[in-house]
């Protein structure tokens, strides 16, 4: 199993980043949608937001590590893509980094607007950047809209991958699942 990427495909680290973060992002999105309507007497009224916030912070760390890994690795060949596919996929992938970063930061700013920290499963906590009275409201609006935009990007991204797999019958999807052949 190759750790690093080659021009023929993605190494195991890139693939784990991809699928684990996809799982965490969709899971956190669903959790977020569900938790905001919980009854005050729900047993999850406190634990659901707690887990949502902790996973968010872990996702931010993963996002940064993934970016470093991406820069430190070769990109698998995109020679079989049309110019449109190359440009649009670059925009979508760069967009993911920017949008997910902004999404997590906006969520963090809701919870820390009163100076409170975000606790991550009791392992560590991220302090508030400072009290920002009232920031929780605009941050909340941004967080909600960005969440839908990120999920919309993910849906377009998935549809594009399926199109490559079933219509173009190329390796775009399979190489994100299986590693490149050892040479």
């Amino acid at each position: 199993m190759l750790i690093r990427n080659t021009t023929a495909g993605y190494g195991v680290v890139s693939r784990l980043f991809h699928w684990l973060m996809a799982l965490a992002i969709f899971g956190t999105f669903g959790l977020g949608l569900w938790m905001v309507d919980l009854d005050y007497y729900s047993p999850y009224y406190h634990s659901a937001p707690y887990v949502h916030k902790a996973i968010g912070i872990l996702l931010l760390i993963a996002l940064a590590a993934r970016f470093v890994w991406r820069v430190a690795n070769v990109k698998p060949s995109d020679a079989h893509f049309t110019p449109f596919e190359r440009v649009s996929s670059h925009i979508a992938h760069a967009g993911f980094y920017v949008l997910i970063f902004a999404l997590i930061v906006s969520g963090y700013l809701i919870s820390t607007a009163d100076g409170r920290a975000v606790d991550v499963f009791g392992w560590f906590s991220v302090p508030s950047p400072g009290e920002n009275k009232g920031l929780e409201d605009p941050a909340g609006v941004v967080h909600t809209y960005l969440a839908y935009v990120v999920i919309a990007f993910a849906v377009v991204h998935a549809v594009a991958a399926l199109k490559h797999h079933f219509v173009d019958r190329d390796s775009t999807l399979t190489r994100m699942w299986s590693g490149p052949p050892k040479t």
């Binding site: 820390t112 929780e136 409201d137």
Partner: protein
């Protein structure tokens, strides 16, 4: 809640003995010598306290004729502050104050009934979340007279209680948390 507080202040003004004759006062929100505080039971185990940071108001008061007093208060509902950003965000939302639709709460006194000994009942209309209901504020005169800076002030304290459901707030906080107590502290500067 704030609305009620204002009424209380008005009432108090009516009852107040010995200050100046009839005069108009502006509630000293600039110097923050006034506050609109609320408290509500949490699970029936404790009291959660908060306040509205932004409001303004006026009252007229005549120590010789306290029953002629009038109180007007306008509260910026967006300024609700319970010292917890996530909770305050929730309180401003549609489950509670719905401040986007209802940015103001008001109290307008209708009558002041002196009860002697510096006390009075201020009856007035509290408008909160678009619902107007009559509330009674138990008010008391605290003190009044010349301040050290050339002005004249008078102050009142008051309390009242409202039921959240009366104002369309139906979020289930539990059986012990259906009512909110308001505590109003008002100092007016003679205009």
């Amino acid at each position: 809640m704030t609305l009620r507080l204002t009424s209380l202040a008005l009432m108090a003004a009516l009852v107040l003995p010995g200050a100046a004759s009839a005069a108009d006062y502006a509630i000293d929100t600039k110097g923050a010598h006034a506050s609109i505080n609320f408290r509500i039971q949490h699970l029936g185990f404790s009291w959660l306290a908060g306040r509205f940071d932004q409001f303004s108001g006026t009252f007229s008061y005549d120590d010789k004729a306290p029953d002629a007093s009038k109180v007007n208060v306008e509260i910026d509902t967006n300024s609700v502050n319970s010292n917890h950003a996530e909770r305050d965000k929730h309180l401003r939302g549609a489950d509670f104050l719905d401040v986007t639709k209802f940015p103001k709460a008001t109290f307008v006194s209708k009558s002041v009934t002196p009860a002697g000994d510096g006390k009075a009942t201020i009856t007035g209309d509290l408008t909160l979340r678009g619902v107007t209901k009559e509330v009674k504020i138990d008010a008391a005169y605290v003190g009044g007279g010349a301040d050290p800076w050339g002005g004249t002030r008078v102050g009142f304290t008051g309390t009242t209680k409202i039921t959240l459901a009366d104002y369309g707030i139906n979020f289930n906080l539990g059986p012990a948390s259906k009512e909110v107590e308001l505590a109003l502290e008002v100092e007016g500067v003679k205009q």
